[in-house]
């Protein structure tokens, strides 16, 4: 399983765009980049997944450069309710998830 590295914490303000970058230098050809969100005392929630270039859904965008050794999760116009831990994962298929410490995002008024 490819190891990922992401910032331990980030702070931002309501209405701002937040970008969380993750590095995954050892990503394999068949791996996808996947992001989960976790609120306190809740289970992780799938946000977005991509293989290359850009993916956008109603929650976030995911930018992946051509070499796929890093990715950036972009949250547009964050609100207080976006305060959570965000996990960057590299997934090769239906298998266990090995969670890291994630990025603890704090949004301030």
């Amino acid at each position: 399983l490819a190891k990922t590295t992401q910032p331990i914490s980030m702070d931002s303000y309501e209405g701002q765009e937040v970008n969380i970058t993750c590095s995954h230098n050892n990503i394999a050809t068949n791996d996808y980049i996947t992001w989960y969100q976790q609120f306190p005392s809740q289970g992780p929630r799938f946000i977005i997944q991509g293989y290359k270039t850009k993916v956008t859904n109603e929650v976030a965008s995911l930018f992946i450069p051509a070499d796929r050794k890093s990715s950036t999760l972009s949250l547009p116009r964050v609100s207080l309710s976006d305060t959570a831990v965000y996990y960057c994962l590299v997934v090769g298929g239906a298998s266990k998830i090995i969670f890291g410490s994630g990025t603890r995002l704090s949004i301030r008024p």
């Binding site: 996808y32 996947t34 976790q38 005392s41 809740q42 289970g43 992780p44 929630r45 799938f46 997944q49 997934v91 298929g93 239906a94 298998s95 266990k96 998830i97 090995i98 969670f99 890291g100 410490s101």
Partner: protein, 113 residues
């Protein structure tokens, strides 16, 4: 999104007692996982269960743990003799189909006294 539900939401037990945590109801899904999260720590994989058999388990999942699907729908995690260090949130997850994502339940908070 189809949700995974878990019962109970909270469980308090005495050390040495048996507890059974449940994912309910589950139908037409074959691939499940149990994870746990000790307060303030990472989410840890315990076991994966495919087509009514354990497919993979972690070092945490020792002889005190077992999983089964007794009636074809409920998916249970049993801890035979609980220890203080078993106190944690326990999450059940099912495998999704579109992105290989996993759908997590709300969790059971287990407190061992």
């Amino acid at each position: 999104e189809p949700e995974v539900t878990q019962t109970p939401s909270h469980q308090v037990t005495q050390m040495g007692q048996e507890v059974i945590l449940r994912c309910v109801p589950i139908s037409n899904h074959l691939y499940f996982y149990w994870y746990r999260q000790i307060l303030g720590q990472k989410v840890e994989f315990l076991v994966s269960f495919y087509n009514n058999e354990i497919s993979e388990k972690s070092e945490i999942f020792d002889d005190q743990f077992s999983v089964e699907r007794p009636d074809g729908s409920n998916f249970t995690l049993k801890i035979r003799s609980t220890k203080l260090e078993d106190s944690a949130m326990y999450f059940c997850a099912r495998q999704g189909e579109e992105y290989n994502e996993q759908f997590f339940g709300p969790g059971t908070r287990l407190t061992v006294l």
